[in-house]
């Protein structure tokens, strides 16, 4: 009899232990996550030469406000902490340390700028804190082997440049190319992609001018490029300088085939201030829908986007591509956090971020999907070319993958 009771007791204890540990294993948290909130850190240039991108941070804040108003993610509210780095790498390091050590966030999401991200990459990986969906297209963020805690989001600059090179070789094989590029990681990455894409025909680049972000105006460089006699002008510039280039081109009456980098293709942020009449015929590539394009007026995804802006961020400029960008990347993060469920450890966040399959946000072009895997840390790698006509961009051609194999 006693042995029966003993057996029963042991079995009961075992069952109890198993079920209780299973119940305890349900919720796992790292610093920054709890039953009621998830702390998300962010670093944006709200001041300095790249302050035009500050709206991305503001859009993300508004989007998380919306998510919180709708009940949060699995019942948890998002606490979005965003700091200004003024595009200065040491300041970015300070803010990253502040977020991780003082504010104790779960992840640092969408920090902006290649130099700032380069500065914090080693620290984030040493600390094992996700540096998730960085707001830069530098090719080096797709390196899960060496930096497993860093992941990009937008198509890489080199793949975009290769697409332009392919287009030029097909449409303007005898063209003479002049390039204006920002003298930093961003500009040089593009130039590399362009020259790689042109391959043996890289001699068609007849003139290259670089500029510093500390320069107030790039007019002098444009004049020099015109003097080279080129008939193709590739503008690897951030918004402020892209607008200056468009204006100067019109001023000096130079009308080459004008290709501009996707980061400065915003209708509201760049083309409108530069003057629509000066931007006719410009080429670029896109992966997201444009708020200025009436073809998306009845698109269900864009309708949600406009409704969101009307309610949570009414001051936003709908035509500004940065606003669309902020919405898209915030939506991606929300998807990753939803996938995490109750396991909100940093490791699981990276795991879920590396298992996005054919995820479509409201704002990506139809057919462009987000795909990641443990060996592919480039969520978006497809683009479509577009030409500026009237007051909007007209997409043309097929969706092109910017991968090396193509």
């Amino acid at each position: 009899m006693r042995s029966c009771q003993l057996h029963a007791a042991v079995i009961a204890a075992a069952v109890f232990a198993l079920t209780s540990s299973a119940a305890l294993a349900q919720k796992k948290y790292d610093t920054g996550a709890s039953d009621t909130e998830i702390k998300i850190g962010n670093i944006m240039p709200y001041s300095g030469p790249a302050s035009a991108y500050g709206v991305i941070g503001k859009t993300e804040k508004a989007y998380f406000d919306k998510i919180n108003a709708e009940g949060g993610i699995n019942g948890r509210k998002i606490n979005f902490i965003s700091y200004d780095d003024g595009s200065s790498p040491p300041k970015a390091v300070e803010q990253a340390r502040k977020l991780v050590e003082s504010d104790e966030v779960l992840v640092v999401f969408n920090p902006l700028g290649t130099p700032s991200n380069s500065a914090i990459q080693k620290y984030m990986n040493a600390r094992k804190v996700p540096q998730l969906f960085v707001a830069t297209g530098a090719t080096k963020w797709n390196d899960p082997k060496d930096f497993p805690w860093t992941m990009g989001w937008q198509p890489s600059y080199q793949s975009e440049a290769r697409i332009y090179a392919k287009y030029l070789m097909k449409e303007k094989p005898d063209g003479k190319i002049a390039v204006l590029y920002q003298n930093d990681d961003f500009g040089k990455d593009y130039v590399k992609g362009l020259k790689d894409g042109l391959g043996s025909k890289s001699s068609t680049v007849v003139a290259e001018e670089s500029y510093e972000t500390s320069e107030p105006s790039i007019d002098g460089h444009i004049v020099k490029l015109k003097a080279s006699g080129a008939d193709v002008f590739i503008s690897i510039t951030t918004p402020k300088f892209a607008a200056q280039a468009i204006k100067k081109l019109a001023e000096i009456d130079w009308h080459p085939l004008h290709i501009v980098s996707n980061v400065s293709a915003s209708v509201g942020g760049v083309l409108q201030p530069a003057g629509f009449e000066n931007a006719q015929g410009m080429l670029s590539a896109a992966y997201a829908k444009d708020g200025a394009d009436p073809q998306w007026d009845n698109d269900p995804g864009m309708k949600k986007f406009f409704a969101f802006l009307a309610k949570y961020y009414p001051d936003a400029n709908k035509l500004d591509g940065s606003v669309v960008y902020g919405y898209g990347v915030a939506q991606t993060l929300v998807q990753v956090l939803k996938q995490c469920g109750d396991d909100l450890t940093r490791e699981n966040v990276m795991k879920q971020a590396a298992s996005l399959k054919d995820f479509e946000t409201d704002t990506l072009l139809p057919g462009i999907k987000i795909n990641t895997s443990p060996t592919d840390f480039a969520p978006i790698s497809q683009l479509k070319m577009m030409r500026f006509k009237g007051e909007k961009w007209d997409l043309f051609g097929d969706i092109i993958s910017g991968d090396l194999s193509n």
């Binding site: 709200y46 001041s47 500050g54 965003s82 700091y83 200004d84 595009s87 200065s88 790498p89 040491p90 390091v93 300070e94 340390r97 502040k98 050590e101 003082s102 130099p115 380069s118 500065a119 990459q121 080693k122 620290y123 003298n183 930093d184 990681d185 500009g187 040089k188 510093e212 972000t213 500390s214």
Partner: protein, 348 residues
């Protein structure tokens, strides 16, 4: 600190106001208190605050160097960021490309920057006042681009910059601490390392300004013609001042590279040089302890203005700066003098 002392220093036609020798530093009591506070802080706060304190000491050193140059010898410089950058890159390149021990890179950075500053001081002899300021401004503007040059890319890393490995505390210290079951984090070790160097350089600078050479420098600042007629080798002392100032800034730059763990050309722009100049003015020109107050200002006040308003943080910073300059035009030195007077009255 009588009224007569203060009056005698406001001479006509002087660009930089002279600071009476007695007022050059804090009293012994205050200095010791500050030192004890600095020694104890890391034991009480988180690693991030220790990091900020380390940056405060480093920027304080850079402002101190500028103080010696402007407050000591009366020469303006808006180009300290260039010397800081050279020091930072020297340390980074020696550590990363040539595997030199981090502590050794600092004297090397100091000597290289001293030479650089001395060489720059030579043509600067012909300039004074605003023209010298412009020349140093040009130096600061040119530096980021020089660092990006393709020719140097194999050493400097070009626009990508260099990632610097943070040093651990030395073996003997770690073993000693293990015996009392304590552990020293990298941040804490770096803080104490920086503190020792800062105190050493501070004491050396105070000594320099109190010595014959210091008096020679100050005489050049007050009246160059009188100084040269008294037998002071004006040219030598002016270039020496540049050299010493650049050397100290170089050491600060090296420490900065190690603390931030990253060097990039865009980290050392003219904006940084102007910040250092601001720090010097807020701390009190020529008042060496004020350098650290000035450094605190340029590190923490931008953070404060950001918390007040993200979009207008620059404007808020400007307003705060305006208030400081308006209320205490002589910077922290004025506050210290008022404090001393109050303390004196209290004692009676």
């Amino acid at each position: 600190m009588s009224a007569a002392d203060e009056a005698e220093v406001i001479a006509e036609g002087q660009v930089v106001e002279a600071v009476p020798k007695r007022a050059m530093t804090l009293s012994t009591g205050t200095s010791l208190t500050v030192l004890v506070v600095l020694l104890l802080i890391p034991l009480l706060v988180k690693n991030f605050i220790i990091f900020q304190m380390t940056m405060l000491l480093i920027y304080g050193l850079a402002v101190l160097a500028l103080n010696i140059l402007t407050g000591g010898s009366g020469q303006f410089s808006l180009g300290q960021s260039a010397f800081y950058a050279v020091g930072a890159y020297t340390s980074a390149i020696l550590m990363e490309q040539f595997n030199v021990n981090y502590a050794l890179t600092l004297p090397i950075a100091g000597v290289i920057c001293f030479a650089f500053g001395f060489l720059f001081g030579q043509p600067a002899l012909r300039l004074s006042g605003v023209y010298l300021a412009l020349a140093t401004f040009a130096l600061a503007t040119a530096m980021p681009q020089l660092l990006k040059l393709g020719y140097f890319e194999q050493w400097t890393g070009g626009v990508q910059g260099l990632v610097v490995t943070k040093p651990d505390a030395p073996e003997f210290l770690e073993n000693a601490l293990k015996m009392v079951h304590l552990k020293m984090s990298q941040d804490m070790w770096l803080y104490y390392f920086t503190l020792v160097i800062t105190v050493a350089i501070y004491l050396w600078s105070v000594n320099l300004l109190r010595s014959r050479s210091g008096r020679a420098l100050m005489s050049i600042r007050d009246n160059e013609i009188a100084a040269s007629s008294m037998g002071v080798n004006v040219a030598l002392y002016k270039t020496l001042a540049f050299g010493v100032s650049a050397g100290i800034t170089g050491v600060a730059g090296g420490l900065g590279a190690i603390a931030v763990q990253f060097v990039a050309p865009d980290s050392y722009t003219i904006t940084f040089a102007i910040s250092l100049f601001l720090g010097m003015v807020v701390g009190g020109v020529g008042w060496l302890p004020g350098s650290f107050v000035g450094a605190a200002f340029i590190i923490f006040v931008p953070n404060i203005s950001e918390s007040i308003s993200k979009g207008l943080s620059g404007a808020v910073f400007g307003v705060l700066l305006f208030f400081v300059i308006f209320l205490v035009p002589h910077g922290a030195r004025q506050v210290a003098i008022v404090g001393q007077q109050l303390a004196g009255r209290f004692r009676r």
